[in-house]
Symmetry: C2
Subunit: 239 residues, 2 copies
Amino acid sequence: MNASRTARERVRAELTREITDVARRQLGEVGAPALSLRAVAREMGMVSSAVYRYFPSRDDLLTALIIDGYNAVGVAVEQADAACARDDVPGRWLAACRGIRGWALAHPHEYALVYGSPVPGYRAPEQTIEPASRVAAVLGAIVSDACAAGAVDDVGASPPASFGPDAARLRETVLPGVPDGVVARSLTAWASIVGLVSFELFGQFENVITDRDAFFDHAALSLAGLIGLQVDPAPRARI
Amino acid sequence: MNASRTARERVRAELTREITDVARRQLGEVGAPALSLRAVAREMGMVSSAVYRYFPSRDDLLTALIIDGYNAVGVAVEQADAACARDDVPGRWLAACRGIRGWALAHPHEYALVYGSPVPGYRAPEQTIEPASRVAAVLGAIVSDACAAGAVDDVGASPPASFGPDAARLRETVLPGVPDGVVARSLTAWASIVGLVSFELFGQFENVITDRDAFFDHAALSLAGLIGLQVDPAPRARI
DNA sequence: CCATCCTGAGAGCGCCGCTCTTGTTTCCTA
DNA sequence: TAGGAAACAAGAGCGGCGCTCTCAGGATGG
């Protein structure tokens, strides 16, 4: 019968979820490299070999946590964006950037797992790329909406010709209706935002920046200007 | 006698250096988290406990490698900058950025150790902050020289007031004569460059950007424009 | 009701970081 | 120059790790 078969599969799914929950908690405490499959098993009252019935290796458990992390930060950014008026482009951009940073500060170890150096020899499997694009999708939608509203200045040098196919591909998914130059600068800004958060989280801004909340907002808006989003009529002065 | 005392200390220094050399080689092969003090000792024909005479813990060995990494990337960037004409600000900026990226691509594991997620529970000791500033010093000198030559546009929103003391402190070291707004945008660009390299190295640009050499150059010049470095008379078009 | 599969438990392998003890060599000094 | 202190390499060992294999018992499904 299908129901009985589902019965076993249900308890299996539940146990799988419980393992990832415990692992995520321990990840938040000790960090990814110190995450121990044995410790997870211990906390669950299992023997370590039993866990291997659910995750064939420690890396597979980490993969599950990475997917969770991408989804979590994706949800955070989506909610931050959704709380803004649709036509408030700078507000949406700032909210999304703050969403990334806020989630990162709240879950530093998960952030490091997702956006930090990949675990040794670990290669991101196929399943991670779809949740990984959630954040990019939100940022892309903001830029796309801004372009549609005519609120983007396409300034700056043109991207290299070799970027054309990449831009075309991105236009089909996350950045519809966005010209090549803005696509290139959006990718740059995206990497920049993550770079800023990483710098802050990994200690590069120690003894450099005091009020990091305010600085991040300023930097995020600067990067909005880099893309060409019309954020404020900036006074232009030559020194 | 001093010479004889130096004799022992010399062999000690030499052995210490040899350990870090072997460790750096193994780091390049297996990555930081898999770096094993025992394996280093094995390759040197020592027993593992002997290595502890030279490095009190595995973390201390990693610290030495981190310092080496900061110095190595610092040297790379310094040389890249030195090869340019002093008054070619955009050329120097691009060369320095390429220097970072080139070193990172050549030594991915060292880069990950230096700019990636910090090792679990590891806290950067005092000795790392001075070599860590070498790269920033080069980028800062380029911006400073550009400011002195009047080749910087101080455009964009003003940084928050709380950033004033930070900017003043940076003006005393790496960014003399640079106004607050340019200081803030320089920091942003610095983090952005590292973010771009990290994205590329850690796989976020997989299946997104094809010609990464060309894209990076374009992004680096975009970020030069963000700072205000006069890189090219960009045509301005509204879409 | 019985054969099949799934499951958890246990033992065990080889690795790890790190500590402690034991002889031995080197160095400084009285 | 002789003796004590310091540095040294080596070995054994502790607990923990990822992972494998075997085995007994219970749920599943014909």
